[in-house]
Every structure is written in structure tokens, then in C-alpha cells.
């Protein structure tokens, strides 16, 4: 067996025997949360095959089907398990596609935050001096703005500049960009602190004495040892970004109204709330709550596990 690479079979065995699995099994709430999240991700990925209707296909809807209740209610239609919204769209399909939007925006925006925050935090912590000072003051500046306010501002300007038609095509990407750019200091600051702590340790000095370059020391020696805080923030940030996307869509400046997103559906349903069609707003809301709860609990569990077992933590 070559020590340079670990075959995929071995990786899987290592994973099965690893402590992540054992801890996950021992902690029932976390186990359930992991399953919920996994189901949500699979559903989102397979949306076109799982959803009974395509909410984007306007010709498939009939306005006569509008505001039908879920099937367990009186007047429910067997074609629409969870009822329909004000335009006659199947709510279940909208939920599945909405989940897809939310998760995609959440993961992509967090990925952007991660890349930005990690590179800037690593540079600030390792290089120190003026790099550190400038970057951290920039981070302070960024944190002084509410990220939601910044997002509202940016999205409103972009919407006005591009026009509604082209905006609707680019909306998800602009959302990702805005939400990703707004929260990089979360990562940068945490990473900077971890990097500064690791940098004090002798193994970094040893790497320096062996003649390794800055890049190698940063990427191969320091970065892998700061993974656990990064992992924890990432889970919490995914939840945060999904919530922010829902809030922006609820305010009407996120996703365009014909692209289903959980926040947008809640806004639409809000108008029908008083006429008795509670399901249009409530079901997307419940889905959002369930998703965020699962992610947050999983993040908490991850933090606890990695904290207690510092030395023999899961080998990731």
C-alpha cells in the first residue's frame, strides 16, 4: 500500500470505523438531524424526478385549482397532496423546488464565504503586521453593516440597473454573491485566531527550520489543524444564509415570484392567510423551521464532539 494515497475502499473503511460514526450513533438527536438533512439534500437534488409538477411550467397550472386545501382537509384534491397556492400550483412541488433553491443558495453562498474568509483569515493570521491590521479593520467595517441591510441595498440597485427580466435570470447568483460577500469576516476572524494559536506551536517552527516555504506551511501544516472551527461555523452559516435568503425573498427582493423559494412562498401565502388558506404560508414555514433546526442541532453536536475530544477527535 502506497503511503501517498489512500484508496477509496480504505477511506470508506476508515470512515465506518471512525469516531464520527460512533458519536453520531450515540447521539440520537444528532443522528435524526443528520438523516433529516440528508433527506432534504437528496430531495433537492432529485427535485425534477420527485416533484409531481414543475412549478416553473406555467401551462401546467389551472387557475381553477387555486387555493385547494391539503388532502386530509375537507375539499382536498387527490392530485395535490398538500393543496395548491393562489395560482393553482401544487404546493408539494413548490416546496421541493423551494428546498432546492434554499439549499443551493445556502451551500453556494457559504462556499464563497469559506473561500474568501479562509484565504483572508489565513493571510492575516500568518503574515501578521500590516496585512493583519488592514484586513481586520476591513472585517470590522463589514461587520458594522447589517448583512441584511447590505443585501437589500445591493439587490435593489442590481434589480433597478438590470431590469426585472434579466434580473430574474441572474437572481440566484446575485443572491449568492451578496450573501457570500457580506459574511466573510465570520470566517476570517475565527480562522485568524486559530492560525495565530497554531503558529505558536513548535511544529510550525520545525517546518520553518526544515526550509519549507510560506505557502506549504500555511496550507499543509496550519490549515488542516484549524479544520474543526471551520466545520462548525460552516454548518451554522448554512442555516444563517438560508434564513437570510428566505427573509429577502419574503421582503420581495430575493428570488423572483415565479421561482419557488421557501421565503417567497411564505410571502405569497401571507396574502391568503386571512382568507383561510393557511397552508400556503404555513407549510413552507414549517419546512424551513425543520431544515434550520436540523442544521443547527447538527452544528451544536459537531462543536461539542470536537471540543471534548480534542486530542482524539474524529480523524477527518
Amino acid at each position: 500500500m502506497s503511503p501517498f494515497e489512500v484508496s477509496s475502499h480504505k477511506l470508506w473503511r476508515r470512515y465506518r470505523r471512525s469516531q464520527v460514526m460512533a458519536h453520531l450513533k450515540a447521539h440520537r438527536a444528532a443522528f435524526v438531524c443528520a438523516i433529516v438533512l440528508l433527506l432534504a439534500i437528496i430531495t433537492a437534488l432529485l427535485a425534477p424526478w420527485l416533484a409531481p409538477y414543475n412549478p416553473g411550467d406555467l401551462s401546467a397550472h389551472d387557475i381553477m385549482d387555486a387555493e385547494l386545501p391539503p388532502i386530509w382537509q375537507a375539499g382536498g384534491d387527490s392530485r395535490f397532496w398538500l393543496g395548491t397556492d393562489g395560482l393553482g400550483r401544487d404546493l408539494l412541488s413548490s416546496l421541493i423546488y423551494g428546498l432546492r433553491t434554499s439549499l443551493a443558495v445556502g451551500f453556494c453562498a457559504v462556499l464563497l464565504q469559506l473561500v474568501l474568509g479562509v484565504s483572508l483569515g489565513l493571510a492575516a493570521g500568518y503574515l501578521g503586521g500590516w496585512t493583519d491590521r488592514v484586513l481586520m479593520r476591513l472585517a470590522d467595517l463589514q461587520l458594522a453593516f447589517s448583512s441584511l441591510m447590505l443585501a437589500i441595498l445591493a439587490l435593489a440597485i442590481v434589480q433597478a440597473a438590470m431590469g426585472a427580466a434579466s434580473y430574474s435570470i441572474w437572481a440566484p447568483w446575485i443572491l449568492v454573491l451578496v450573501l457570500g460577500l457580506a459574511e466573510w469576516p465570520q470566517y476570517a476572524r475565527t480562522l485568524r485566531a486559530s492560525v495565530m494559536a497554531e503558529k505558536q506551536k513548535d511544529y510550525v517552527a520545525a517546518a520553518e527550520l526544515l526550509g519549507f516555504g510560506d505557502w506549504r506551511i500555511m496550507l499543509r501544516h496550519i490549515l488542516p489543524n484549524t479544520l474543526s472551527p471551520l466545520l462548525i461555523i460552516s454548518t451554522l452559516q448554512v442555516a444563517h444564509v438560508i434564513l437570510a435568503e428566505a427573509a429577502l425573498s419574503f421582503l420581495g427582493i430575493g428570488m423572483p415570484y415565479y421561482t419557488p423559494s421557501l421565503g417567497g412562498q411564505m410571502r405569497d401565502g401571507f396574502e391568503y392567510m386571512l382568507s383561510g388558506s393557511w397552508w400556503i404560508a404555513l407549510l413552507p414555514g414549517l419546512t424551513l423551521v425543520l431544515l434550520l433546526l436540523a442544521i443547527n442541532l447538527l452544528g451544536d453536536w459537531l462543536r461539542d464532539t470536537l471540543d471534548i475530544q480534542h486530542q482524539d477527535g474524529p480523524s477527518l
Binding site: P3, A205, L209, G211, P224, Q311, S315
Partner: protein, 333 residues
């Protein structure tokens, strides 16, 4: 043993205190200066083992890091093989990096927790010799592991799965992997069990003999000094007190501090007290008195010791001491 390899000339290094509590920010106070190493003159000759002894906090680790270039001296200069190296930029220093290596005090923090034993040794090897094939590199690593007494079967283990003795062996193997000529060991035994200390010490001594290495060994353990040192430098409060051959130091120590240090060594046979016994405690490093740093504790101290810092002077047998009382003949050498 006549050619100087490393020369420290009047090297000083100070640290400054920082506010430790929020309220200290609002108190106007100049940061206090702690001089860790003061006007140090020391020459290490090629092929010798020089031990630096001293109690905790006397500046041993600072000196080790200064020599390795992990810290930069405030004053003075450091020469290596005739070239000045202390002012070199990182890039220019690379040429010297591989010629000198360091062994750290804590073998655990000195190892990257996410690198296995094999990777820990493969990395420097392949970094400096990228032309090696996988087979050649592995062969060399196995040889390095066997040379320090680690079973190559442990190759896939991570540092936390090793014993502390194995960890220190791995540190030694890593330091030797770039084929250095000069090794700085900063208390390499103090984090180890007594039963393992001897093994590691023998390992260090054997490699030094086999590869003709020059050793700068920092320790507070006099038994270790007696075992391996050619020459000994005694350090107190950031300065050298005595610099002499190992044999002379144990046979007749001159400096009052050295005498007290040897006296404090636990011995199986009780012998009548000969040397000086120190009074009091180590003074605060932040409020350093004028003159000799041993003045409050030394029974021979007089007015001159309180005002003038003693400098090293040579005795007829080649030993050097920094003590006014010895120089004036107030203590019979």
C-alpha cells in the same frame, strides 16, 4: 575542534510586557522590559558538544531560538561558519536552514498532529529532493526510522498514537533527515520519563559521534551535562557565569553560582559542604538591579558587585568566569 562553527557576539534580546487585563489599558504605564539574554559571548567549535545549563527562565530557550533564527537579536551578531547570519532575510537564510536543526522540548507540540510518521519524514525528503522516486524515498525513510529505533510498522500512526519516547525519536529523525551538521537541542529530555531519558540521550550521543555533529545542548539537568558535554556554559539570569570544560566544572567549580548549582545536585553519598550556599530567591526579571545579577544571593558580594556587571575573564586552565570576587582573589580559585 579548533574551528569555530557558531559565534555569538554581544547578543542581547529583550521582551516587553503587554497589558494583560482590560483595566491596564487605562493606566498609564510604560511597558516593562524583560531582558531574556544579555550581552552573550559564546563560541561553539566544530565537532564539540557544548552544554548550556541554567535554571528555568534563565534565557536558555531564547538563546536556542536566537541561534536558530526563530528570533532576531536586538543587539550583537551571530556568525555561522564565518558568515553573519542574524540579519539575513528569510530567503537568504534558507542556505543555512538545512545545515542546522533544532530538537524541541515538547515532542508532542513539535509534531504536526495531522501528519503520520511516514509523512512527517517524507515531506522534508521530497521537498528538498523532488527527483526521488517513491520507492527510494520510502527506503530512506525506513532507514531513518530504524536509525532512531522506531519500528517502521508504526509508519501509519499519528503523533497522538505514539509514546512520548517515540515522539522524541521521531523529532530527532526529522531533524536528521535534512543531514545537518549542527544540532540545537532545547531541553530535549525534560518532557520525558526518566526511564526514557537515558535512551534518548544515548541515541543523541551515538548519532553525534557517527555523523560528527556539533551539538548545542540546553538543559537544567547536571547529570546529563556530565554524561555528554565537552564544554559547559553556566547561565544565570540571561548572562554567562562560567564557561569551562566539563571535567573542570565538576572537579572544581569556580563561580559561586556554579558551586551552588552543583551543591544542589542530589547525591547518594553525603559529603561536607564546600562551596557557596545561596540565600534568597531569584530576583524579578522585570526590575533588574545594577551590577551582578547574583548580588543579593551571593555571600561574597561587595560594593563593586552592586554597581558593575562582571564580564568573562580567562583562567590559566582555559576556563572563563564572570565574577568580581574571583578576579580580585576574594575567593580562592
Amino acid at each position: 575542534m579548533t574551528q569555530p562553527l557558531l559565534q555569538l557576539e554581544q547578543v542581547s534580546k529583550s521582551f516587553y510586557t503587554r497589558p494583560t487585563a482590560p483595566y491596564e489599558l487605562f493606566r498609564w504605564r510604560r511597558p516593562a522590559r524583560l531582558s531574556a539574554v544579555e550581552q552573550l559571548d559564546l563560541t561553539v567549535y566544530r565537532g564539540e558538544t557544548l552544554c548550556v545549563v541554567g535554571e528555568s527562565g534563565c534565557g536558555k530557550s531564547t538563546m536556542a531560538r536566537l541561534v536558530m533564527g526563530l528570533l532576531h537579536p536586538d543587539e550583537g551578531q551571530i556568525n555561522y561558519a564565518g558568515q553573519r547570519i542574524d540579519h539575513l532575510k528569510r530567503h537568504d537564510r534558507l542556505a543555512y536552514r538545512r545545515r542546522m536543526q533544532m530538537i524541541f522540548q515538547d515532542p508532542y507540540t513539535a509534531l504536526n498532529p495531522r501528519l503520520t510518521v511516514l509523512h512527517c519524514l517524507l515531506e522534508p525528503l521530497l521537498y528538498h529532493q523532488p527527483q526521488l522516486t517513491e520507492q527510494e524515498a520510502l527506503e530512506q525513510v525506513f532507514q531513518q526510522l530504524l536509525a532512531v529505533g522506531i519500528d517502521p510498522a508504526l509508519g501509519q500512526r499519528f503523533p497522538h498514537q505514539l509514546s512520548s519516547g517515540q515522539r522524541q525519536r521521531l523529532n530527532i529523525a526529522r531533524a536528521l533527515s535534512v543531514k545537518p551538521e549542527f544540532i540545537v537541542a532545547d531541553e530535549p529530555l525534560s518532557a520525558l520519563d526518566v526511564s526514557i531519558q537515558a535512551q534518548i540521550l544515548n541515541l543523541l550521543q551515538d548519532t553525534a559521534n557517527q555523523q560528527n555533529l556539533t551539538f548545542l545542548f540546553f538543559t537544567h539537568n547536571l547529570a546529563v551535562v556530565e554524561h555528554i558535554a565537552d564544554r559547559v556554559a553556566v547561565m544565570y539570569e540571561g548572562r554567562l557565569c562560567e564557561l569551562t570544560s566539563s571535567r573542570n566544572l565538576f572537579k572544581h567549580p569556580r563561580h559561586p553560582y556554579t558551586q551552588a548549582l552543583l551543591e544542589a545536585m542530589p547525591q547518594l553519598t553525603t559529603s561536607p559542604q564546600q562551596g557557596a550556599k545561596l540565600m534568597g530567591d531569584v530576583p524579578s526579571r522585570l526590575q533588574r538591579p545594577l551590577g551582578c545579577s547574583l548580588q543579593d544571593r551571593c555571600p561574597y558580594a561587595n560594593e563593586r558587585c552592586r554597581h558593575q556587571v562582571p564580564t568573562l575573564f580567562s583562567h590559566t586552565d582555559g576556563g572563563q568566569t564572570a565574577c568580581h570576587a574571583l578576579q580580585e582573589g576574594r575567593i580562592k580559585p
